[in-house]
Amino acid sequence: MQYLGVELIKPKAAFFDFSCCEGCQLQIANNENKLLDFISLVEVVNFREILTERNNDYDIAFIEGSITRKDEIDRLKKIREKAKILVAFGTCASFGGINKLKNKFKDIEWVKKEVYGNCPIETNDKVMAVNEVVKVDFYIYGCPVNKSEVEAIVQSIALGREFRYLKHPVCFRCKEKQNICLYEMGKICMGPLTRAGCGARCPSNGNSCIGCRGPAEEPNIEFMKTIMIKNGFTERQIRDKFELFSAFKE
């Protein structure tokens, strides 16, 4: 394929899932209108959720999910060796995501017991994001990822241009949609700190932004906490929001 006379790249892409809900992979199958065009952009060689054949020759590896067990670490390292570009696909892969909530418990034995009683079960003590194990070349944020953003990113690869994330927080887009600010409605919201690009989905639907896309560029976390407290939210409530996806360093 060509664009304005410049030959495009058709990369071989492989999708790998680790510990997660696989909702991000699903988004790819979900963009029905453009799915056929999308799969003509890349050659999908490995996609366990919808594909039987496997091919271990790929340029881009999309890693979904967080890393929780010894065998997952080994598997990820092998993928890293093969892949030219390794993409952390979704919030779990980028930050650890919801799964990392487990890390707040100091006693892993208690955790196992809480869920499995006295049955033996294998797990690492700590849930890790992909970049805690191997080098990551690119991140795609979101829980789940935003389909049109994924398309834009893959298209950028084909065009050989870098993809740039929006750098500002969600509020900017939320205001564009002419929503009434949730703080005005007495609710807490992570919008002022979270990276835009989701179309302010949650606030536009009347629910708080929960920060799934991680921090915007240079977020003013310190003063935002003061604002949250001024709006009547407790330290505990604030912590709830900050730790949800483990995306914000406190």
Binding site: D17, F18, S19, C20, C21, E22, G23, C24, Q25, L26, A29, N30, E32, N33, L36, I39, V44, F47, R48, E49, I50, L51, T52, E53, R54, T68, R69, D71, E72, R75, G97, I98, N99, L101, K102, F105, W110, V111, K112, E114, V115, Y116, G117, C119, I121, E122, T123, V127, C143, P144, R201, C202, S204, N205, G206, N207, I210, Q237, D240, L244
Partner: protein, 420 residues
């Protein structure tokens, strides 16, 4: 040891079929679940009820609406919250939409390639563009419904304890209604495609567990029933599942009157045949699907029947909600100490959430029982019998291996969900 190449493909999550060969012949096929556990029940401890449904929806990307709905219902039962009729209707629409989207995904993307001897949907896209386009159109309308009403097709956020943060506009509902009406011919085409496929001949008598519908086909809440005659209230879900662990699975397993039981579309239809929409019943007739059907491969057809049901029921629900005032409701929740159970029929079968709260409305303890978890033991038993039956019939090893895979897939297992 867990090797990449062992995982069964075209299912959600990680499981393998361990094939035991003796003297060059398949002796036994064993179902193993090796998904990594995420410990959701532990993560939830101390979480505020506002966040609970948002977190548990991340148990599964495919049935996130069912998880949210079950969780919210559990919390509402714990706090004695009453919801409005409007909320009830919209939740039902969402459950129908998710069922449709999940079933279509399974039928076309995961199951159909087996029947056509392909490795994935991709060759079908090139060889049978028409089928692929039907699949995408049907999935789209289902996803659009989830988008418009749930706020997003995966991990919905409009559904909260007590109701909805926002109801969709009439205009957007009218568009959906029109699209939905237009999707009926596509469904009929789908049923023709599946009529032309050969469903493997296999039966094993088992017990079927589902919600019991009263006046409607069951999606949310109500009594729990089994085809062996067990009937229990929602709150006694534990007596329906009797969870246990085994060394071959990282997921917990379940049993009731026998060693194993089945949940899912086939179980729902077996237990609630008369509550199906008349149009859906017609499809049953076409496929000679009668209660009680013991062929697990027929679960694919049961899903197809439910697609019809979902579309027709949703059209009826749309008529009702379009006549309502869709401005947002005031939601005020007072948390209290207590425990509540929410049972819903997820696409893959009955799903239970049990949330126990302290006075502040923070989780003290919780418990989730996932449909696929309840099916694992049954899958294992089925595989056992399948290998025996088909060896006797003189089928080759590779044919049996494929049948084994097809059998597991026809349960549409959601493994990462079962090992949450």
């Amino acid at each position: 040891m867990h090797n990449e190449k062992d995982y069964l493909t075209r299912v959600e999550g990680h499981g393998t079929i361990d094939i035991k060969v003796r003297n060059g012949r398949i002796k036994k096929a064993e179902w193993q679940v090796i998904e990594t556990p995420r410990f959701f029940e532990a993560m939830m401890v101390d979480k505020h009820f506002d966040d609970v449904s948002l977190i548990v929806s991340r148990i599964c990307g495919i049935c996130s609406i069912a998880h949210s709905t079950a969780s919210i219902r559990a919390t509402e039962n714990a706090f004695d919250v009453k919801i409005s009729g409007k909320t009830e209707l919209f939740r039902r629409i969402l459950m129908n939409a998710e069922t449709l989207q999940s079933h279509i995904l399974h039928l076309y993307f995961l199951a159909l390639p087996d029947f056509l001897g392909e490795g994935s949907i991709f060759p079908i896209i090139t060889k049978n563009k028409n089928a692929a386009e039907i699949a995408l159109r049907l999935k789209k309308i289902a996803n659009d419904m989830c988008d418009v009403i749930g706020g997003r097709n995966t991990h919905p956020m409009t559904m909260v304890v007590g109701g909805f943060t926002k109801f969709p506009s009439k205009e957007s509902l009218l568009i959906l209604q029109k699209d939905l009406l237009n999707s009926v011919p596509d469904l009929i085409e789908t049923s023709k495609i599946f009529m032309s496929l050969k469903i493997p001949d296999f039966e094993r008598e088992t017990e079927f567990v589902s919600l019991k519908g009263e006046n409607n086909y069951p999606w949310i809440g109500g009594q729990l029933m089994s085809s062996d005659g067990v009937l229990k209230p929602e709150s006694e879900y534990k007596k329906m599942t009797n969870e246990f662990m085994s060394d071959w699975s990282t997921s917990k397993l379940a049993k009731l009157s026998r060693d194993s039981f089945a949940v899912g579309s086939l179980a729902r239809i077996n237990n609630n045949f008369n509550l199906l929409h008349p149009k859906a019943k017609e499809i049953c007739e076409n496929f000679k699907l009668k209660a009680i059907c013991y062929n697990p491969f027929m679960n694919n057809i049961a899903q197809l029947v439910e697609c019809f049901h979902a579309v027709y029921e949703t059209l009826e629900l749309f008529e009702k909600v379009l006549n309502m005032d869709l401005s947002p409701e005031d939601i005020k929740i007072k948390p209290k100490k207590g425990k509540g159970v929410g049972a819903v029929e997820a696409p893959r079968g009955i799903l239970y959430h049990c949330n126990e709260y302290n006075e502040e409305g923070r989780i003290v303890h919780c418990d989730f029982i996932i449909p696929t978890g309840q099916n694992h033991a049954n899958i294992r038993e089925d595989l056992n019998k399948l290998v025996k039956d088909y060896s006797k019939k003189g089928y080759s090893d590779s044919e049996i291996e494929l049948l084994c895979q097809m059998l597991v897939r026809s349960y549409d297992p959601c493994i990462s969900c079962s090992v949450h």
